[in-house]
């Protein structure tokens, strides 16, 4: 069981959250100019690292807000938790 630190509510069990995949994947700035390969990239291709990963979570059973977490995908250690719209902190 993960203990995920919500930036607003503090640490809670993973069952209170839902997952949003890789963080910092922006919607294309000018969609009408994006070609098929780049659309595929935006829609389907995500990093899948064995190591540190910045990902989105939503505190579904709590404050219902989205935020980002930096988590290690092997040890599951969490090194940062930060509000959306802020950049990935320089940890791990």
């Amino acid at each position: 069981m993960l203990r995920i630190p919500c930036p607003w509510c503090g640490p809670r069990d993973e069952t209170e959250f839902c997952y949003g995949g890789q963080a910092h994947v922006p919607y294309p700035a000018d969609p009408s100019t994006v070609d098929d390969a780049d659309w595929a990239g935006y829609l389907f291709f995500r990093d899948n690292p064995k190591g540190w990963f910045a990902e989105r979570w939503m505190h579904r059973a709590g404050c219902q807000r989205w935020f980002n977490v930096v988590r290690h995908t092997v040890t599951y250690e969490i090194s940062a938790s930060y509000p959306p719209g802020t950049s990935r902190p320089d940890v791990a």
Partner: protein
């Protein structure tokens, strides 16, 4: 049904395979000695006469998902492309023991896919129709028919997930996964394939856009062609080439009970409640759960997934309440956006991928071994692999099998 306390288990062959030292170069290097890698090596040798082949395995042979899965074999997928590859595999399963000259305990005991909602019923009936059009055996069963096949199943209507019907594929079943791996390993070894354990591939060697070998923990090994069959670790290997794959790796768990008398002689799966169960040859109940909710490479799963799965299993099979969980384990599965595999050529000459089988690639083992070997030998996609090309994510021709494959199996 024959009721037996100690079903006969065949004796292991005296000799399986011998460890090999890596040579300086090979015609083909296969990365990963799971079922897919081993079957690919076997068919490369048998169907194409290519025997200067090494299978490189990071850990031990079949120590990945191959010997962690719940061994369900079926071909009742929705789309024509899927029916093509999975039915090809099922036909090969039907002759596999004779072909490999080795028992694999393939047991065609049928698979039920339960429907618990109107949506499930519609999806199931549609899939039965599609299966029949593709020559795949499939029937739609009422709850009463379902109970005739699985008498211990609770079909009462006052439960959280009532059984409203089921699809049934009689030719589906289970096999002993480790014996399948050993059977392929033994037969491939006998034809000259080198099986090399403890040999992690750490990078891919290239000259321009051509792949010429791999880097390993035991040094570089050259190869004319490199074929990836690394399941949950595929992205890690291609990342060293800057090649991105549309995959996310997740832990998937399963568990077994103690040995019990035979109470279930078919396979029961339920998408909605994420549980699938069969009773293995020795008598243990084998149950699979869903994937964890987040990307992970830890070969263990999260406990809430098991709790949820057990609650559902006990509602469906009240007598399971007395059984005990003996062992749980997890494997790392490579999930693609459309729940279909990715097979074929890559932007790099001489590099072939076979991945994205996610929660359901065991059943495909003979079929994909056959098709991937043909793709590698001829440097073009086998017709059954063609629709599963990496290019489909850009051209939009997805093969959406979430209905047939959303549950892990």
């Amino acid at each position: 049904m024959t009721w037996q306390l100690t079903p006969r288990l065949p004796a292991q062959p005296d000799f399986l395979w011998a460890e090999a030292e890596p040579k300086a170069s090979y015609d083909v290097i296969i990365v990963g000695a799971g079922g897919h890698g081993l079957a690919t090596a076997y068919y490369l040798a048998k169907n194409h006469g290519i025997t200067n082949v090494a299978v490189l395995e990071r850990g031990w042979l079949a120590g990945g998902n191959m010997a962690r899965n719940t061994t369900i074999i079926r071909s009742n997928y929705l789309w024509d492309e899927s029916a093509g590859i999975y039915e090809h595999a099922l036909k090969l399963w039907e002759g596999l023991e004779a072909d490999l000259d080795c028992e694999v305990a393939f047991s065609q005991r049928g698979v039920l896919n339960l429907a618990h909602s109107l949506g499930d019923v519609r999806e199931g009936r549609r899939r039965v129709n599609a299966n029949q059009l593709n020559g795949v055996d499939a029937e739609w069963l009422t709850p009463e028919d379902v109970q005739k096949i699985a008498p211990i199943l609770n079909i009462s209507t006052d439960v959280r997930y009532p059984v409203l019907g089921a699809t049934f594929q009689p030719r589906a079943g289970i096999a002993k996964h480790d014996w399948v791996a050993w059977g392929y390993a033994r037969a491939a070894h006998a034809m000259g394939v080198d099986l090399i354990q403890g040999c992690e591939v750490t990078g891919v060697l290239r000259e321009g856009d051509r792949v010429v070998g791999v880097d390993t923990v035991s040094g570089p090994i050259r190869a004319g062609r490199v074929a990836l069959a690394a399941a949950g670790h595929s992205s890690v290997i291609t990342a060293s080439l800057g090649l991105r794959l549309p995959l996310q790796s997740f832990p998937l768990q399963a568990l077994v009970s103690e040995l019990l008398e035979q109470v279930l002689d078919t396979v029961v799966m339920s998408n909605a409640v994420h549980v699938y169960v069969s009773q293995a040859h020795k008598g243990e109940l084998v149950m699979g759960a869903g994937i964890d909710g987040y990307v992970g490479y830890g070969q263990r799963g999260s406990f809430p997934v098991i709790e949820h799965q057990m609650a559902a299993a006990i509602e469906l099979f009240p007598i399971f309440a007395r059984a005990h969980v003996l062992r749980t384990w997890g494997g790392i599965v490579d999930v693609s956006p459309d729940a279909s595999p990715i097979v074929g050529l890559t932007p790099f000459e001489g590099l072939y991928v076979n991945c994205g089988w996610g929660t359901g690639g065991f059943k495909a083992t003979p079929g994909i071994g056959w098709v991937f070997a043909d793709t590698i030998a001829n440097d073009r996609p086998h017709p059954l692999a063609q629709p599963f090309a990496l290019a489909r994510f850009a051209d939009g021709a997805l093969i959406d099998e979430h209905g047939a494959a959303a549950v892990a199996h």
